[in-house]
Symmetry: C2
Subunit: 725 residues, 2 copies
């Protein structure tokens, strides 16, 4: 079966509602069905998309396998999509028209489903499932992730083996008995975890900790799962023993009775109310008023408090970093996946939407055929691929790091090397999380705008995709702060390289600064400029220059007598610029690696996309490339011309590329993005189901009739004598 047909079958089979749509061009019940005056003979949307799919292209199915990491993985993803699609609990089609309580309850039902799958499938399969759920229904992804990612992650990372099995027995693995939430942020503290105000004071007399919220700003805030789901919380609090503070540690605090869901004494929880998106998550606030927990509820894998109040701190504080990285890596993955979804919708719609035309006698032009529309969407398509391949690589690095961290014995001889690797993954993932989530957020909104007026309809799905996704730019490390962290890491690498320490991985370009800094592009003709190796050199040169500038500015600040923190602060803007160009370059290099290792029949397609990614990024940031003199103004003009040419070339394969992403109609959940192109009928069908026609508004008598039938006040004006008349 050809790939196109396979996907169509998968999705059509499973959306019986859509079949109810009227078949003809005019819609109505029998009585109103009338003779149709077809004003111009358009090819049907299905014909249009079939035509798009019949053009010379690339092997779509092979591309899907390559993106997914092999045919087996594609089969697994399709199996999961089918399971989700057939499961009534996973319904999303009506999500824009149900109430908040309905959304919350349905999301909880989905969490229950996830608990089943956690227990019955491999971790790898569950991970894929979660990746798809994140695209399909981001609030559900989070509500599941609050327990299995954050709470359970805290146990895995910070509990002793005895503690871990204690909580596992209580239900932390299967949820029969408990559900956890992750109580880190407070009303007054988000990014600065060290500044949290909640206290955990050791009471030696009773061998208990007293968990307490001392001020309003210490109220735990934004806690996903707190308002309606969790029985327990992993609470971050300042450890105080014998009057001395030891910094923030993690404590498991029971919140509710699992039998009745009544709050435990001393615990107050409320919903924090309306949000921008992810409405299915029950974010809440928690205030603790002298709540007592056993000493053993402090997670003691790293720091320990003994019965007598002796505090033992861990030898390697940095190891706690590992857990933080996991969220960032998953957001790089999500950025690629969500971008692919948004682009599928915008591109398929652009292929069937016709507007304006060159001749009145011919069908109007597909908007995808306009130069400007290609320029709006094709570079974003290339960005989605760049993020995808970067995510694959970052996941690989992260997983290999985790294996080494799990088996690391403090003090062992490879400790130094593992810590180096940790530092690199930490610094790199910080920048990638920030720039990929920003890039994806931009892609979503550009795709929405590219759908014109219908992009503003909730049913197109891009508005909610935007508001659901936007939080990625803030949580698990505010993007701006992460870019500064990434910049600080780069400044550190630069200074190490300067002092002769060889840099590996993504910052290897810092090793031979002298030879790279002054490089110039030697290309003499426009046709030669579209070269992956030219772009690679351009990125290395610019990244090296901006990192050098950040490093030099930092050292200059130090030499003026500033302390390290103040010097970093002063160089914030250049640090951010360094992180940006480094991250863009990193994305390009990972894309290029993928284009090199891919099957031969995909090479041309991926190389062109990679060229488009690189050249477009250069054109959009031409200031930096001109500033450091790698390209001349004339070469930049050539690059712009080449970007337009590549947009045109990629546009010819745009619909097949969305097919290669292989999202079913169910996962897309957008009439405009349907595989068969039947956007208008499907969209009209959705609207008709949600709001039956011909309703008189319930408030007609209260608000409209009094307006329409009122006497005009002037009519009743009393006449008075005006002396001055």
């Amino acid at each position: 079966m050809p790939p196109a047909k396979r996907v169509a079958l998968l999705s059509n089979h499973l959306q019986p509602e859509d079949v109810r749509q009227p078949a003809g061009p005019m819609v109505g019940d029998g009585l109103r069905t009338i003779e149709v005056e077809q004003t111009n003979k358009l090819p049907s949307p299905a014909q249009t998309l079939a035509e798009e799919r019949s053009k010379p292209s690339f092997p779509v199915r092979q591309m899907t396998y390559f993106l997914d990491g092999g045919e087996k993985m594609t089969a697994l993803k399709e199996k999961i999509m089918l399971q989700l699609e057939r499961d009534p609990i996973m319904k999303v089609s009506d999500q824009h028209d149900i109430t908040l309580p309905e959304i919350r309850e349905r999301t909880m039902a989905k969490v229950r489903r996830a608990a089943y799958y956690v227990a019955h499938e491999s971790q790898e399969t569950f991970k894929r499932r979660m990746e798809i759920i994140s695209v399909l229904d981001p609030a559900t992804w989070t509500r599941i992730g609050v327990h299995y990612g954050l709470f359970f992650g805290a146990l895995r990372g910070q509990a002793t083996p005895e503690q871990f099995s204690y909580w596992a027995q209580k239900g932390a693995v299967t949820l029969n008995g408990m559900v956890g939430c992750f109580a880190m942020t407070e009303l007054g503290h988000g990014s600065n975890v060290a500044g949290l105000e909640t206290t955990a004071t050791y009471d030696e007399a009773s061998d208990e900790f007293i968990i307490h919220t001392p001020t309003l700003t210490a109220t735990k805030w934004w806690i996903g799962g707190a308002a309606q789901t969790a029985t327990h919380a992993a609470v971050f609090a300042q450890l105080i023993v014998k009057g001395k503070k030891y910094g923030v540690k993690t404590f498991i605090v029971p919140l509710r009775d699992p039998q009745t869901f009544e709050l435990k004494p001393g615990v107050v929880i409320g919903d924090i109310g309306a949000k921008m998106g992810r409405h299915g998550i029950d974010n809440g606030y928690i205030q603790f008023t002298y709540v007592r927990i056993p000493r053993s509820y402090m997670l003691m894998k790293h720091s320990k408090v003994s019965r007598r109040g002796d505090v033992k701190e861990p030898p390697l504080q940095q190891l706690a970093y590992g857990a933080l990285i996991s969220g960032r890596v998953s957001m790089v993955t999500d950025s690629g996946n969500v971008a692919k979804k948004a682009l599928t919708v915008a591109i398929r719609y652009a292929a069937i939407r016709r507007q304006f035309g060159s001749k009145p006698t011919e069908p109007e032009t597909k908007i995808l055929d306009y130069v400007i529309h290609q320029y709006r969407l094709m570079p974003l398509l290339a960005q989605a691929f760049a993020m995808h391949f970067t995510a694959v690589e970052v996941n690989r690095i992260y997983e290999s790091l985790m294996v080494r961290l799990d088996t690391l014995h403090p003090g062992s001889k490879d400790q130094e090397e593992v810590l180096e690797q940790l530092k690199e993954v930490h610094g790199t993932s910080a920048g990638l999380k920030a720039f990929c989530t920003w890039t994806c957020l931009n892609i979503i909104d550009q795709c929405r705008q590219a759908c014109g007026g219908h992009g503003y309809s909730a049913y197109t799905g891009l508005a909610s995709t935007y508001s659901d996704f936007a939080v990625h730019c803030t949580w698990e490390g505010d993007n701006t702060i992460l870019t500064l962290q990434a910049g600080r890491y780069l400044v550190g690498c630069y200074r190490e390289a300067k002092s002769g320490k060889k840099q590996a991985g993504g910052v290897a370009y810092l090793n031979n600064l002298q030879s790279i800094l002054g490089k110039r592009c030697e290309v003499k003709t426009p046709s030669e400029i579209a070269s992956l190796s030219v772009i690679a050199e351009a990125f290395s040169l610019v990244a090296a220059n901006v990192v050098k500038k950040a490093g030099d500015d930092f050292e200059a600040a130090l030499s003026r007598g500033l302390k390290e923190e103040a010097a970093h602060e002063e160089c914030s803007q250049v640090r951010l610029a360094a992180a940006k160009m480094h991250s863009f370059g990193y994305l390009f290099h990972r894309f290029r690696d993928a284009a090199e290792r891919c099957p031969r029949e995909l090479r041309e397609m991926l190389e062109k996309l990679c060229l488009l990614y690189g050249l477009y990024t250069v054109a959009e940031n031409s200031g930096a490339f001109l500033q450091y003199g790698y390209f001349t103004p004339e070469q930049i003009d050539w690059i712009r011309a080449e970007v337009s040419e590549l947009c045109r070339w990629v546009r010819g394969r745009a619909v097949p590329l969305t097919d290669a992403f292989n999202y079913s109609n169910f996962v897309l959940n957008s009439p405009l993005g349907r595989f068969d192109g039947n956007a208008y009928e499907s969209y009209f069908g959705v609207v008709q189901r949600a709001y039956p026609a011909g309703q008189v508004p319930a408030y007609f008598d209260r608000q409209i009739k009094p307006l329409l039938t009122r006497k005009f006040e002037g009519d009743e004006m009393m006449e008075i004598d005006d002396d001055d008349e």
Copy 2:
């Protein structure tokens, strides 16, 4: 009374709910109130903002007068804000927590209020009222605007005097008797109005038009007010007389019985359902099935159809443009106003939000004191001022044009000049509408992100500000299409200038291209680069170059034998680039004009902001300035350093600048943006009122208990003999 106090009084007086907030740092009822452990002695938010307001600054009240256009106008705006704030019908404080039907009904009640004011105040006062309502409650602005802007505008622009008084008598002025909507766009056609499919066929026998929806895509779609408000529609339809098509004309079609609100025979209307924002608007779809209206319901100021079916076309088609411009101009105004609101919230919050710190013994640092945060917000503040002053100027030009158009007799001797002016306003407003709405949309989201996690709360107000505002980038001319229109206008001006026709107004820089194109910035030291005249020259040079490139590429395409349309199409990308740099320059020049004409005591403040606007725009678009060689790479470095320095300088006046915008707490409707800085208590109060603490979710027994108390499936596994064991 000092200005600060005056605003505080206005708003505090009127938000009694806020007074109910707990006063102390720990919140709760009497029983739970406990002794407070104040961990570090922070200045209160009120002290913090008072300190911000006591720094050396500028006369805030004078700035407000200057922005508003005089003390009287400020007084008027404050009067309107007070009226809105005290009117229970205008309530917005709970808008994030009420249902869609509630929002719709409340919005209708607000429309009724507007109908009262329309009849009882001057047009100028009503215009100000609408400007404030647009910031306070954009959906209400639109639902009012659908009648008074679009429907009524169609009558004014296209009805004969007799027709106008007929509909006025029916209630079109006061709404007693009828409410109109504007049925232009269809499911299949938005931008291409000429391609609309709805037909209006003249039936000579009955002297009627037959209005008809021939296909599904001809369904009128996105029609504001159609679903629940309007009794009549101004319908755009293809005029067909004796089998011949005459293009799109406007027809008034009764939709509903004003007494019962029942649909007229042949009219089907439905709600188009959930949207990204502006939920208070009842956007609907309309299908007409052979609906008959009298011939006199076609608006015949321009085109006329006689009793015998003779069609008379107007001599000057372009005059219909005038009405289109009004919406664009109002969106430039709105961009400035909404940007000011978003910035007020983000800046005041940044002044009281503390995170991280240099010393553990001292209060944490205000996030507004971080270099990077200043760089995030201060340039946007400058952009808001630039948009404000540009809006003032564009309104002035537009109004003077309208006066001339209204009094223009076709064929009179100043016709040529008026049409020239129309062309300029049309071209300029197209670019400004696009780039100002995009700029404002970006400002809103940057402000939201700058509020960190709390930016994702609906109560901060920036999420809904974003989703409400976003439609400005699409309606009344999709931004991308408008940039191309603007670019086409610029190409036209360039070609005229080349052929010796002198250009006036915003494109005067095209008159002496030879002298300007090769200019170089002569500045030799970093301190000289921050000069308004340098920046002005830089913008002229770059705009001239990009416009020239667009024009030359266009002519090259023509000379290769392309037809005009195809040549324009090929040059889309350079046209867009031309419109962008021209518009940015236009904004700079209008800002600079304002900084020159302002009262002396405001000059330093406005000049610094204008410099920041200009230099930041150069830095962000450094590619263009380097490409055309106006600045050297070294000068760009100076500019970046100067931008940072200006950010620091402006930051010192940032809170007073938000005060100068003079939005009351009611209009801001954001705890984070409160004048008194009491963000946390206010925010907590809003949440507590919306969602009382300690609720057990209604679905506990259905969804949570079965999960927590279920038997794990594995427990019941039957034992079977495995032969291979």
